[in-house]
């Protein structure tokens, strides 16, 4: 597949329409990153281009890699009347996302009590495989969470109302119907509300390493002397079950025989099943917003306990796996489309209503986490992204090495010591989870964000590096 790519510029590659493709495929990527992209990921992008109602291009962000159905790092917009919606275009972990916080705790102060605060957070935020949250919620409460997301959390004492405007969609998407979510999904979600999970999800306390744009970092209230915090997790078992349920329902209804890949299963956006999936997906999005809000609240409490009264301000919270009805300019007119972002971040520039007032003059914050031992970045959304990538950019670093290979070749104890020499303290559920998520198993995040910046679909603001990491 790669030989068919035409290089349009240093960071833009295109694959012409052929066969049943309805639009061309386009990748925002560098030669260096392209070398590691699997042939299968490009095939998946081509498959996306064959789907009904797709607009302009099937797009790949700089961190594209092979997924199920759609590639990870894939972005596609579908006409709301003629087009489709696909669970495989969102992913199993619906609203897997990240939030970033600024603090008034200096790096120096933090380092003095580092082990103490890490242990406190580890104690207060439930994490690990299948691990239950601290509290047991009823079905009725879950129904509210599904409808109101982070707003439910804030109304119930997890955080302050100012947090709400600093979350994508202002803390919850409208249109979730509890009845569109199976009782299985609810039962998987009930014990897990307010828990981190495991795998690539993490909590991180960071130090500002570099400021690329001081004017904007000031608006984001990032002080280079103080630590920042990132929270990375999603909708837990609830979202996983919703994805799985609707893949099955769509297979039963439409069959997959005509699809190039079984996991591209989809339904028309405006069909009954398409609408039900969208509603259930929104419910999962809201569950994930509430989940991150609760976790943030417990981190605030932990900081207050260890450092005395502290100030942890939410900068922003973004989704990385989502489908949304948005308005975009297509063929010179404003059109409503269903934008799928699978392992991609929204990256809206200045003056869009979706961007909260506090950031409306500069664009939304975009958060791109690295791996356990590498940098993470805060970027800012751009007008250019709205013009060429349906307001989207990259979401992180993909893996370059399987978990089984990592476990064969790396030892958790050694990785922890290596990280400790680099000034990073890690606390995890087990040694194996450290080995599986070692920095060397991930791609080069620096190159991913550099490409985003060079293309202009998300501009660099701040680079942070980890000082403390908590993993499930």
């Amino acid at each position: 597949m790669k030989e068919k790519l035409k290089k349009l510029s240093n960071y833009e590659f295109e694959l012409d329409k052929e066969g049943s493709m309805k639009v061309p495929a386009k990748l925002f990527i560098s030669e260096k990153l392209l070398k590691d992209v699997e042939e299968n990921a490009i095939q998946q992008l081509v498959n996306v281009a064959t789907l009904r109602g797709i607009q302009k291009y099937a797009l790949a962000m700089p961190d594209i890699h092979s997924g199920y159905g759609f590639p990870i790092g894939g972005v596609a917009a579908f006409d709301v009347n003629e087009g489709i919606i696909s669970p495989g275009g969102v992913g199993y972990d619906i609203n897997c996302g990240v939030r970033v916080l600024s603090t008034n705790i200096s790096v120096e102060e933090f380092l003095k009590k580092r082990t103490e605060i890490i242990n406190e957070i580890y104690k207060n935020v439930p994490s690990g495989v299948g691990r239950e949250g601290k509290l047991k919620f009823s079905k009725d409460v879950l129904a509210e969470v599904i409808e109101k997301g982070a707003k439910w959390a804030i109304d119930n004492g997890y955080g302050i109302k100012e947090d709400l405007q600093r979350i994508e969609e202002y803390g919850y998407m409208k249109g979730a119907n509890f009845h569109d979510i199976s009782s299985k999904a609810i039962q998987r979600g009930m014990p897990q509300l307010g828990s981190l999970g495991a795998g690539n999800h993490f909590l991180e306390i960071q130090q500002v390493e570099q400021i690329f744009n001081e004017k904007i970092s000031n608006v984001f209230e990032i002080d280079k002397n103080n630590v920042t915090i990132m929270i990375h997790c999603g909708s837990r078992g609830l979202g996983h079950q919703v994805a799985s349920d609707y893949i099955k329902l769509m297979e039963d209804k439409y069959g997959y025989k005509d699809l190039p890949d079984r996991e591209l299963i989809n339904a028309p956006v405006n069909s009954d099943l398409g609408k039900k999936y969208y509603s259930a997906m929104i419910g999962s999005v809201n569950f994930a917003f509430a989940n991150r809000q609760m976790i943030m609240h417990w981190i605030r409490e932990s900081f207050d306990k260890i450092f005395g009264k502290s100030k942890l301000n939410l900068i922003y919270d973004v989704c990385h796996n989502v489908a949304k009805i948005e308005k975009h300019v297509i063929d010179n007119s404003l059109k409503e489309v269903c934008v799928h972002r699978k392992g991609a971040s929204r990256s809206f520039g200045p003056r869009r209503d979706e961007v909260p007032e506090i950031y409306r003059n500069i664009g939304q914050p975009v958060i791109i986490p690295g791996s356990m031992g590498t940098a993470s970045y805060v970027l800012v959304g751009t007008k250019k992204a709205e013009e060429i990538s349906f307001g989207s950019t990259a979401h992180g670093a993909g893996r370059v090495c399987s978990r089984s290979a990592a476990l064969r070749t790396l030892r958790g104890e050694n990785i922890r010591n290596e990280l400790s020499k680099k000034g990073i303290e890690v606390k995890a559920g087990s040694w194996k989870s450290i080995a599986e998520e070692a920095p060397q198993v991930y791609k080069d995040i620096d190159e991913v964000v550099r490409v985003s910046h060079e293309v202009g679909i998300g501009n660099l603001v701040v680079k942070v590096k980890p000082l403390g990491v908590i993993k499930g």
Binding site: G130, Q187, H240, S404
Partner: protein
């Protein structure tokens, strides 16, 4: 050999073997849980019984593994072994034993079963599964 893992960058891919389809399915369940914990250390304290259906063998395998993920998330049930399993006409009945997950160390988290590269071969029996992590 009960099961083996194959190279898969982002997630996990395994093949499970058996003299019967039932045995291959059981070993697939063990392979999946071995991604999350040291399964040999798990005790068989709790017993659960369930039935699943599927319109073909692949759907049956998918639903069987998904039911185990459901038990893990909804009750914290960590698998030790499949005590009984019977497959008749795309219906599966299983009795499984395990323990509360909170008593054990865990690492990777299986989010979902997928149909990606799923294969079921007969005589000798082999099932191949990719799970989302």
């Amino acid at each position: 050999m009960k099961y083996k893992f194959l190279e898969h960058k982002a997630d996990a891919k395994f093949q499970a073997f058996g003299k019967t389809l039932e045995e291959a399915f059981s070993n697939a369940a063990l392979a999946m849980f071995s991604l999350m914990t040291d399964i040999k250390k798990v005790k068989g304290k709790i017993e659960r019984k369930f039935n699943v259906k599927g319109y073909d063998k692949k759907a049956l395998l998918y639903n069987f593994l998904e039911e185990l993920l459901f038990l893990l998330d909804s009750e914290g049930f960590l698998l030790y072994k499949i005590k009984k399993i019977k497959i008749v006409n795309n219906k599966l009945e299983a009795v499984v034993v395990g323990d509360k997950v909170s008593n054990y160390e865990t690492h990777g988290e299986v989010k979902a079963v997928t149909y990606n590269e799923m294969e079921i071969k007969e005589k000798p029996y082999m099932v191949q599964v990719v799970v989302d992590m």
